[in-house]
Amino acid sequence: MSKELKIYTVSVYTENNIGLLNRISAIFQRRHINIESINSSVSEIAGVSKFTIVVKVTEEQIKKIIGQIEKQVEVIKAYYHSDEETIYQESCLFKIKSDLLFEERQIQNIIKESNARIVTVNKEFFVLEKSGRRQEIELLYRELSVFGIMQFTRSGRIAVTKDEMKISTMLEAFQH
C-alpha cells in the first residue's frame, strides 16, 4: 500500500450526539494527525448527522482511522475518498472597505472574474462571498490582499462523492 501522503476526505455518518465530535477528533489527535478541516452538518437522511473531515495521511493510515471511527458506538458508517472521487467546495467571506470598491476599479474586475458574490454593502464595508476550490479562494485572497482585507474567513471543505454512498440502504437494513 502506498506510503505517499495524500489528501483524503472522510465522511462520517453519525447519530446526533453531544460529545461525538470530541470522540472522533480524539482519534486523530491520538495519532498526531492534523485535521486540515472539519465540517459538521445534517445529512441526506433525517436524523443522521455528517462530519466531513479533511486530512493528509497515507492510505494505510486512513484505512486504520476509518476502522477506529466506525468502532464508535454512535457512528453509523465512515468512508474515505481521494480528491478524484469527490466533488468538493469551500466557501469564504471577505470584509473590505467600501471606499475601495469605488476608488479601485480593479477590484470590480476581480470580483467579476472570480465569480465572487457581493453579499452586502454599506457605507463602511462590503462583504464578498466566494465558493470554490481551495486554489481559487487562495488566488482571490492574494488579489484582494493588495488592497487590504478587513476580515477574512474560510470554511471547511464540504464534499459529495461521485459514486453512491450506500448509507440509506444500510440504514434500512439496520431497522430489520
Binding site: 453519525t14 447519530e15 453531544i18 460529545g19 470530541n22 470522540r23 480524539a26 491520538r30 484505512k63 486504520k64 476502522g67 477506529q68 466506525e70 468502532k71 458506538v73 454512535e74 457512528v75 453509523i76 440504514l171 439496520f174 431497522q175
Partner: protein
Amino acid sequence: MKQTQTIEENKPVAENTQRISGSEAIVKCLIAEGVDVLYGYPGGAIMPVYDELYKYQDKLHHVLTRHEQGATHAAQGYARISGRVGVAIATSGPGATNLITGIADAQIDSTPMVCITGQVASHLLGSDAFQETDIVGISTPITKWNHQITKASEIPEVIAKAFYIAKSGRPGPVLIDITKDAQFEELDFSYKKCEGIRSYKPIPKVDNEQLKAAAELINNAKKPLVVWGQGVILGEAEEEFKAVIEKAGLPSAWTILGASAIPTSHPLNVGMVGMHGNYAPNVLTNECDVLIAIGMRFDDRVTGNLATYAKQAQVVHFEIDPAEVDKNVKTDVAVLGDAKESLTELLPLLDKNSHSEWHQKFKDLYQIEFEKVIKNDLHPTKEGLTMGEVLKEINIQTKGEAAIVSDVGQHQMIACRYAEFNQTKSNITSGGLGTMGFGLPAAIGAKMAAPEREVISICGDGGYQMTIQELGTIFQTKAAVKVVVLNNDFLGMVRQWQQLFFDKRYASTELVNPDFVTIAKGYFLNAKRVTKREELAEAVKEMIESKEPYFLEVCVEKEDNVFPMIPTGATVSDIRLE
C-alpha cells in the same frame, strides 16, 4: 398517577410505571441488570444514590473500597472471573478522576464495566463548581461509550444502553455521569433491557468464503501455529477452540490474557508468546507456515519488531473487532465474527491432522528453555528463594484450581509463565495497560464474584503499595482473598531493564519497605513472612487451607531476572534465554 413534567410530556406514559426518584431508578436499573455487587466510594454528588443503596442493601451489596481506583479494579476482577459486567460508582470531581486508571485498563483489556459518577447539578455545569470536573470529556478516549444524564427521565434507557454496550461485541468500559438534580428529580419508571442500537453492530457476520479460505490454509499447512487471546474467553468459545485445535492437531500458544482458556496441561498448549513468553512458540512464530490468530490483537509485547514478525507465514485472523484486522500484522485471511460462532463453523471444514514432526520441534525447544531457565526458576539450587518456586508451591497446593490475580512486573510474568490452570477465566491480570496496583483490588472483586473459588493475588512489593489500603476492604468485607507479596525490595522489572539496558544504573528502583506483615496484622489479617526455602511449602499450605483472608510475604532473591526475554524492538525469534 401524576403526569411527568419534563420531556416525557409528549410521550404516552407506559403502563406498569412507578413514580420514583432518579436515584432510586438508578438502583432499580442495576438490580434489573442482575447486578448483585458494586464497588464504590460515596461523596456529595452521588449521595442520593447512596441513600437508595442503603434502602436496597438486601438486593444490592455495595462494597466500600478505600480508593475509587480500587473500586474499578475490583469491578474488573469481578468481570474477568465471571464474564459479567462489573460496576463501580463514585462521586464527581476527584472521585470520578480516580476511576480513570481502571477505566483505561478495562478499555485496553476489553473488560465489561459500567462506571456511574455523580455530577454537580445541571445548572452548575461549566461554572467550576465544587468538585465539578468534565469527566465525560476526560473519559472519552478511554471508554467504549460515555454519556451525561441531566434529566431523570433519561436514566432507564441510558443505563440499559450502558450495560448492553459494555457487554456486547468486544466488551469495554462505559461511564455514565449523572447530575445531582437528575438524581433528585422524579420520573415514571419502567425498565426495558436494551436489545440493539441502530449505529452499533457488535458482532460482525461470519463470511463463509473467508471461513473456507481460512480452513483451506489451515488444512494445507505443514507447520501451523495458533496464537489465541482473550477473545476465546470473552466469547466463551473454550470448548469450540479445543475441538478445533484437537481435530487439526494445531500447536497453540497464548497471549497473557488468553491464558487458562484451555488447561495448562493440554498437550497442544505450547505456552505463552511475547516478551517473557516461552522459547518454543516465540522462535517458531518465525518458522511456522500458517499463523492462526484467534481473538488476539498482535500487541507489540507479543510481536516484537513487526518488520521481522512471522514474515514467512500466511496469517489467518479470527477477530470480532474489524479495526484490529490489518492494524499491526497484515492478514491473508480475516474471519470476522464472534469466536464461538466462527470456530463452530470452522470445525467441520477442517481435516484431521496431527503434525507430529512439527510438534517435536516445540518439545525440543522446550527442553532448551527448561535447562536454561525453567529448571533454575522452579528447582533452584542457590540459597535465595525464586519467585518461580513460590508459584510451583501454589500449583501443588491448589492443584491448578486457583484463580491467579497478578499485579504488574516481574512477579506477573513469573505468575503467568508458571501458574497452572485447569479452569478458564483463571488468569486475571492487567495486560494491555500494565497497571501496577491492579492485583489486590482485582482479587477482591474476583473472590466476590466467585466465592467458591480459591483466589490468590500475587503482587510485587512495588505495585502492592499502590493500592495497599484495600487491605481495609478485605478486612471489612471478610473476602477470603489470599494475598502473596513476592518481595525483592526492588521495582524488579524496571531494575532488570536498568541492569540490561541502562548499565546497572538503578535509578529510583530500590524500595525501602515497611514491615508488610505488621501492616497486614494492623488490618487484623492472618499474616506470615517466609524467608527460607524450608518454610515455604508449609506456609503456602497454611495459606491455602485458611478459610479466611491471608497475607503471605515471601522474601525472594533481590536481583533475579525474568527470562526468556525479547528486548523491545527485537525479533521474536531472537528471544534471549539469559
